[in-house]
Symmetry: C2
Subunit: 334 residues, 2 copies
Amino acid sequence: MAMTIRDIAREAGVSTATVSRALRGLPNVDPVTREKVRQVAERLDYVVSPAASRLASGRAGSIAVITPYIARWYFARVLSGIEGVLQASDLDLLLSSIGDPGETGHVPPHRKLRRRVDGFLVISLPTETEGVSEIFDLDQPVVLIDTDHDGCSSIGIDDVAGARMAVQHLINLGHERIALISGRPRPTPFRPEDNRFIGYRDTMVEAGLRIDPDLEACGHFTIEGGERAMTSLLARANPPTAVFAMSDEMAFGALRSLRAHGLEPGRDVSVVGFDGHEMSEHLDLTTVVQPVEEIGARAARLLLARLDDPQAPPKHDVLPLDMVVRGSTALRRR
Amino acid sequence: MAMTIRDIAREAGVSTATVSRALRGLPNVDPVTREKVRQVAERLDYVVSPAASRLASGRAGSIAVITPYIARWYFARVLSGIEGVLQASDLDLLLSSIGDPGETGHVPPHRKLRRRVDGFLVISLPTETEGVSEIFDLDQPVVLIDTDHDGCSSIGIDDVAGARMAVQHLINLGHERIALISGRPRPTPFRPEDNRFIGYRDTMVEAGLRIDPDLEACGHFTIEGGERAMTSLLARANPPTAVFAMSDEMAFGALRSLRAHGLEPGRDVSVVGFDGHEMSEHLDLTTVVQPVEEIGARAARLLLARLDDPQAPPKHDVLPLDMVVRGSTALRRR
DNA sequence: TTGTACGCGTTATCAC
DNA sequence: GTGATAACGCGTACAA
C-alpha cells in the first residue's frame, strides 16, 4: 500500500540513493533524472516516511512550542504568528502547554520532548521554570520570547519603555496618584512584569511623584483579577485618579469596576492598558500596543535561522511599541 | 552521548528485547527484571528514540489538529481543551492551521501530514475543504468538531437549538422585527452557520413572524464585521428592535455600533450573542453559552478511543447549551 | 552523475 | 520469562 523509496527507485530505473538525492533537491543529480524521479514519485503518490528519514538523518523534523497557556489572548496570538512561519517550513509544530509554574498538573515538557524535536520556542516562561530550565542542558537551539538566557536567541519588547509611555501619558494629563494593576505579587519570575513595574516606578520617581504601595494591586492578568484590583484600589483611603494596568484584559476588568462604582473611565479615573487587544478599541481603552503576532513570527524565524546554522551567534530582537490614546484617559479634573 | 536501548541492555545484563518489554510495561517480564531495567534506564537518563520506535512499530505517535484559525477565541479555546487531554497521553500534538477555504496561502494539510500522524482532529472545517477532504481517504481515524462525516466520530453542539433559545428569548420579550447577524453569505459550507440560521428561521416562522431578508447582515465572525452589520441594519427603512448575532464577537461589534448611534443595548435594541465569551459578562451581553474547552477535550478523547480500538463504531457527541440573560436584552418598548 | 551497502534505534517474531 | 534477529524505510559514505 504505502510506497517506499525502493518502489520509486525500481519504477524510475535508478537507485534508492538517486531517488533520495533527487527528491531532496541535492546537487549532483542529472536534471533529466531528477525530473523523471519526481514524476514517478508524483504518479505513485509517494511521501517519505518521516520516521525512517528522521532515524537515518538524526533530525527530528519538528520544533516544540512551550507556552504557559494556549487560550489566553496573548499566547494564542503569538502561537498563531509562530505557526504562520513554520507552516512554510518543513518542520512540524509540536504544541505543549505547561500552566503556571507551581500549579498542579504542571507537566515538565523536557521529558516528553527529549529526542523528539530539533529546537524549542518558549513563550514567556521564566528560564528557571521546572521543566524549562532542563531544556538548556539539551544543547539544542532555544528561542525565548519575553525573556532571555545565555546562548539563546530571544525576542520581546521593551517593557520598561512601554510602561514608561503609559505612565508618562498619565503624568502629562496631570495625574499624580497613579495606581498600578500588576500581575502577580513581586518578586515574580516573569520578566515583563518586573520590567513594566520598573518603567512605572522610574517614571513616577523622575516626575517627583511618590510610589505609594497602597496604590498597587495584583490582577493576575485576568479580567476578573483586574476588576477586583480596581475595586480594592477604589476602597483606599486616598484612591487614585489614574491607573496603569499591565495588560488590556486587566484594564477591561478595571473599566468594569469603575462603571460598577458609578465612575466613568476617562472623566473620573483614567485607565491605560497594555497589549493592543482588539477589544480595547471597542471599550475605548488607551493602550500600549505590542505587535504580538509579529513577535511569534520573528521568534520562529530566529529559530529557523539557528537550525540552519547552529554556530551563528544568538540574536536578540526588540520590537517597537506604540500607544493608542482613547477615551479612557483624560486630563485630571481639579 | 545519547543512550540507546543496547546500552541499557548491556548495563542491565539483559537483551534489548527485554529492555523494550520492561520499559513499555508489556506482560511476561519478571518484576525483578523490570525494576532493574527501569533503574538502569533512569540512572543512565535513557529516553527511547521516537524515530526508531515509530519506524519499527509503524505508529506515528502523534495526532494532528487542523483548524482554520489559531488566535480566534473559539479556536484557541477548543485547542486548549484538546491539548489538555493529549498532554496526559503519549501522543504529540501537531498543530496545523489552514485559513479560510479559498483564501490565499491556504495550505492543504494532507500533504504535509501524510504518514506522520495516527489521527486527525478537525475543528469546524467543512469536510469538503480542500486539503481536508483528502484526509478521509487516508483511512486513519478522524474526529470532526462542529460537523460530521461518514465513519468519523464527531462532536459539537445543537446549533439549531441554540439559535432557537436565543430567538425565542427575544420573541418572549415581545420583539417581532428580529434581525440576524450571520457569518458568511449563504450557502456556506460551515455547518454551525447553517444550523443557527435554521434555528432562527424556524423559530420566527413558528411564532408567526416574517423572515425579512432585509433583516439579515453578514458579520464574518469578527468584531468589526459585527459592527458593520449592525450599522447597516440600523440604516434599513424599518430597522429591527432586536438582533441575534451568531457569535459573541459579532455581538460585541453590534453593541458598539448601537452605542455609536446613540442607542442603548437592551433599552433601545436587544442583542443576543452566541458563545459564552468571557467579555460578554463585562459587556452585559445576553448569550448562548457553549462549553468550548469541553468540546475540545471530548473530541480528543473520542480520537484516543478510536486509536485504541479502530474497530469501535464512531460516536457522535452533542454537548448541552446554556443561556445567560443579561442587560443587553429587555422587553420591547412600545 | 550514479549505485552499493551499511547504519540509524527500535519493535516484533520467533525460538528457547 | 528471556534472547536472537529480522524487519522498519531512509540517508549517506564510499566506490565506481
